[in-house]
């Protein structure tokens, strides 16, 4: 694998040359400062852009064009990374040597058309497409409450700090959807194309010079250079633990516990924290899983995830009805034990093994490879081999030091009950 980065005026081009795949993968990232009011618009935009363009007037036409290019696949995703909103639009297509000469360039043209030639007339998106996306998106937002796990997570984060970026709903907001028009959506599109930070990745058995030329020629992006913002979110401070309960008609409780991470150093965030979380609730051998599920049969699923850039760990579990408080008490005991240094060396070793296996897993997918280089670009984290070395050197004391900086912020329980929550 050979990696080069080139600064091409308004954007960075990253070329990863490898013969591990028969495909070429192209991924374009657009990112900007995370503002709550833009989340819904941005999701809307991704959806409408994937429906067609001026060259491919309907989804049917677009799909047929992708199929004709030997199953070229184009998709878009949105997410928040700390203080950034990040949109990735990707193309995966077989290398020309498995198809026919020119197939890759035609696929790039298709991608280019979807991004830079949207179906717009009189400075507004196409009305039929707009209404289609509007109705589908509205149905999805309405259905949100039906998935108790997702709903509990949203409410748990809002209970933690409804003003902070940590609580922003990735899926968007119904009230914001209602404000979107086909005109202001186009304004936002222009804003994104002109002002976002852009990184383009190309991965495959490709020639560096050829890729540089072809990308330069097809993707004429002219964004204004701006100062990068800090991706890391300020810690959500809390003096004492908040407990919030809500009832819903459900067969089980959904429990969310947020843990604040106070004053972590960059090193702690990137290394000991990962091990701390793996020990706490990273997998099926973690303390949460062992104590809550295996020993007390209170749950089918329970785990923890570190949102490193949000200075937060989130614990989630589907708990036996009326038993959430028991589960919370078990969590408190586990956290206290970790803080007191009651950590078996064996668990630390396992957490390290887990991490090094994950590193070796990266080359199993072109998207994982691209993601790891993107994180180096975006967050300035260490490269893969440095990560491996540093992680293996983390000591027990360093993990305990992190444990001492972890505080329960909020306990949110979506209580299952036989009644309808709204009555």
């Amino acid at each position: 694998m050979n990696y080069v980065k080139k600064e091409i005026g308004a954007y960075n081009l990253h070329i990863i040359k490898t013969n591990l795949y028969k495909t070429i993968t192209v991924k374009i990232f657009f990112r900007e400062k995370a503002l709550k009011e833009n989340i819904t618009k941005r999701n809307f935009l991704s959806r409408i852009m994937m429906l067609g363009s001026n060259d491919y007037r309907t989804k049917v036409e677009l799909t047929k064009a992708e199929q004709d290019l030997y199953a070229a696949n184009i998709s878009g995703t949105n997410r928040r990374i700390g203080n950034y909103l990040d949109t990735g639009i990707s193309l995966k297509v077989l290398h020309d040597k498995y198809t026919e000469e020119g197939n890759f360039e035609k696929s790039l043209d298709l991608l280019d058309s979807l991004i830079f030639n949207p179906k717009v007339t009189n400075k507004a998106f196409d009305e039929i497409d707009f209404n289609t996306v509007y109705e589908e998106y509205k149905a999805d937002l309405n259905s949100l409450v039906e998935n108790k796990m997702t709903y509990a997570l949203i409410k748990g984060l809002e209970a933690t700090d409804s003003k902070s970026v940590i609580s922003y709903r990735g899926i968007g907001y119904l009230e914001d959807l209602e404000k979107i028009t086909k005109e202001n959506l186009y304004d936002y599109y222009l804003e994104m194309i002109k002002h976002n930070f852009v990184d383009i990745f190309v991965l495959g058995d490709v020639d560096e010079e050829y890729i540089t030329n072809v990308i330069r020629e097809k993707f004429k992006i002219n964004t204004f250079k701006k100062q990068p913002i800090k991706a890391l979110v300020e810690v959500t401070k809390t003096s004492r633990t908040k407990v919030v309960k809500e009832k819903t008609s459900a067969e089980q409780d959904n429990l969310i516990i947020t843990l604040s991470l106070n004053n972590l150093t960059d090193y702690e965030r990137n290394y000991p924290l990962s091990l701390y979380n793996a020990i706490l609730g990273g997998g099926s051998e973690s303390l949460l899983f062992t104590e809550i599920r295996e020993k007390n049969s209170l749950a089918y699923y329970v785990s923890s995830t570190p949102n490193k850039l949000d200075n937060l760990i989130i614990i989630r579990g589907g708990i036996t009805k009326d038993k959430s408080i028991d589960a919370v008490n078990i969590v408190k005991k586990i956290l206290k034990d970790l803080e007191a240094g009651k950590i078996d060396d064996d668990r630390i070793e396992k957490a390290k093994e887990y991490y090094t296996s994950a590193i070796d897993d990266i080359i199993e997918s072109p998207f994982q490879i691209i993601e790891s280089y993107y994180m180096i670009e975006l967050l300035g984290v260490d490269d893969i081999e440095t990560k491996r070395k540093k992680m293996l050197k983390v000591t027990k004391d360093e993990i305990i030091a992190v444990a001492k900086k972890v505080k329960i912020n909020t306990v949110y329980i979506l209580e299952g009950s036989d009644d309808n929550g709204e009555n």
Binding site: K22, T63, E146, E251, E294
Partner: protein, 436 residues
């Protein structure tokens, strides 16, 4: 060691096959030599799943019926061991992943990792061959599985799916969820579990599929010696009850009131498998999947129409094979039920496909086979699916796809019968007249 070596045609892959003396079939798909990838994937499975609930237990003579959900329960219980070491803990030591899945037809134990291949394979073969059930650990598991069932029941999509199966099938175990019911889960005993285990967890009723960074000879060697300790004999006589399902549905319409904002709809059209013109199951499946892709995929006019007219916000279409019947299933989030249903029925009764569209999807499928060959996990999954569905590995998919033609496709379409259907709607309890 001389193993059977089979080229996967047109996708530059070789697979190895070996059947041990005890009857275990082993399929190995190694990475190409130059690959730097380190991951390996094991899938150790038994031809025993939730749809096999009545059989003659090993060593007995009478057909016996077992509580629903026992295959899945057994899968959970295999993670228990006498020495107290859990497979989860064992695999965590090398940062590897272990899990298991139960479907109606089979139960599979999977391991993924990139370190200590030998030890991890040995351990997989060991723990799946070492049942340890006690009254206490059965009771504990009942708590966990009832939570899993409760979690599923909280999803309206699942509720629609569960109910449509209940209303479609009269005798087939497909009428009950894989997990069973809270009641049946609580009926399961240690003895039941041993009976099921002893009958189906035998090498001659199992397979091992291995892919990724492995050496075929080594895999066979490890497996042979790991299993030698268990004194497993070949035995091909398992008597399972076969169900004959009527083409008539049990209940043709049901409404469920629930706290939903968008209506959930499930429809099943039950058909007699004998009426299809293709008798080869592999070929029939290819044509049915092609039909779904052509008539209901992203490139179909029907999908474009229901999208533009805001009839559904999402919908999925597939065929379900249930012994002597085949069911065409639809699951959707519906925005306008009466109009969607009318348009759907109209469309189904006038299905037509064009040759150019068929040829285009063939090209897509062939390309997808080539793309898939880069991913050891996908190849393992495909091989496992082949074994489950056809009891053999299909090595010439590209050729089979190339042979597909419009004449046969039209014959398949003509044999479809949409006259026996069941409908389940999960609708809002606050606004029962929604959309009508």
């Amino acid at each position: 060691m001389i193993m059977e070596k089979i080229e996967l045609k047109n996708v530059d892959k070789t697979i190895y096959r070996e059947v041990l003396d005890n009857g275990l079939e082993i399929i190995i798909i190694p990475n190409n030599e130059f690959s730097k990838k380190k991951n390996y994937y094991f899938n150790y499975g038994t031809y025993y799943g939730a749809a096999i609930n009545e059989f003659v237990p090993k060593g007995m003579s009478k057909m016996t019926s077992f509580p629903s959900g026992i295959a899945h329960f057994l899968e959970h219980k295999m993670f228990e061991s006498k020495d107290g070491i859990k497979p989860f803990d064992f695999y965590a030591k090398t940062g590897s992943y272990v899990n298991a899945f139960t479907s109606y037809k089979n139960t599979c134990y999977v391991v993924t990792g990139n370190k200590k291949m030998k030890e991890n394979l040995e351990y997989l073969l060991t723990f799946v061959n070492s049942p340890y059930f006690t009254d206490e650990n059965v009771k504990k598991e009942q708590g966990i599985i009832c939570e899993e069932a409760a979690m599923n029941d909280d999803s309206p999509d699942y509720l629609a799916y569960k109910t449509i199966n209940k209303n479609l099938y009269k005798v087939s175990p497909y009428n009950t969820p894989i997990l069973g019911t809270i009641k049946s889960i609580k009926e399961i005993t240690k003895d039941d579990l041993y009976k099921c285990y002893n009958t189906f967890y035998r090498p001659s009723n199992m397979f091992l599929v291995v892919g990724g960074a492995v050496d075929p000879d080594e895999v066979v060697k490890i497996t042979t010696s790991a299993l030698a300790r268990f004194n497993l004999e070949r035995d091909d006589t398992i008597k399972i009850k076969h169900y004959k399902e009527s083409v008539k549905v049990v209940k043709d319409y049901e409404e469920i009131k629930k706290d939903v904002k968008v209506e959930k709809l499930a429809i099943g059209f039950k058909m007699d498998k004998a009426k299809f013109p293709i008798k080869n199951k592999v070929t029939l499946d290819l044509y049915l999947n092609m039909l779904v892709s052509l008539c209901f995929g992203a490139s179909s006019d029907f999908r474009e129409m229901i999208r533009k007219r805001h009839l559904v916000s999402r919908s999925g279409y597939y065929f379900q094979d249930v012994g002597n019947v085949i069911t065409f299933m639809i699951e959707a989030d519906v925005l306008n039920y009466p109009v969607y249903l009318k348009e759907l029925e109209n469309y189904l009764n006038n299905l037509n496909v064009l040759e150019e569209d068929l040829e285009r999807i063939k090209k897509v499928w062939i390309s997808s086979e080539v793309i898939k060959s880069d991913y050891a996990d996908s190849i393992v999954d495909t091989v496992v699916d082949d074994l489950i569905n056809y009891h053999k590995v299909i090595t010439n998919y590209v050729e089979l796809i190339k042979n597909m033609n419009i004449t046969t496709m039209r014959e398949v379409i003509n044999s479809l019968d949409f006259s026996n259907k069941a409908i389940v709607r999960v609708i809002s309890e606050n606004n029962p007249l929604q959309n009508d």
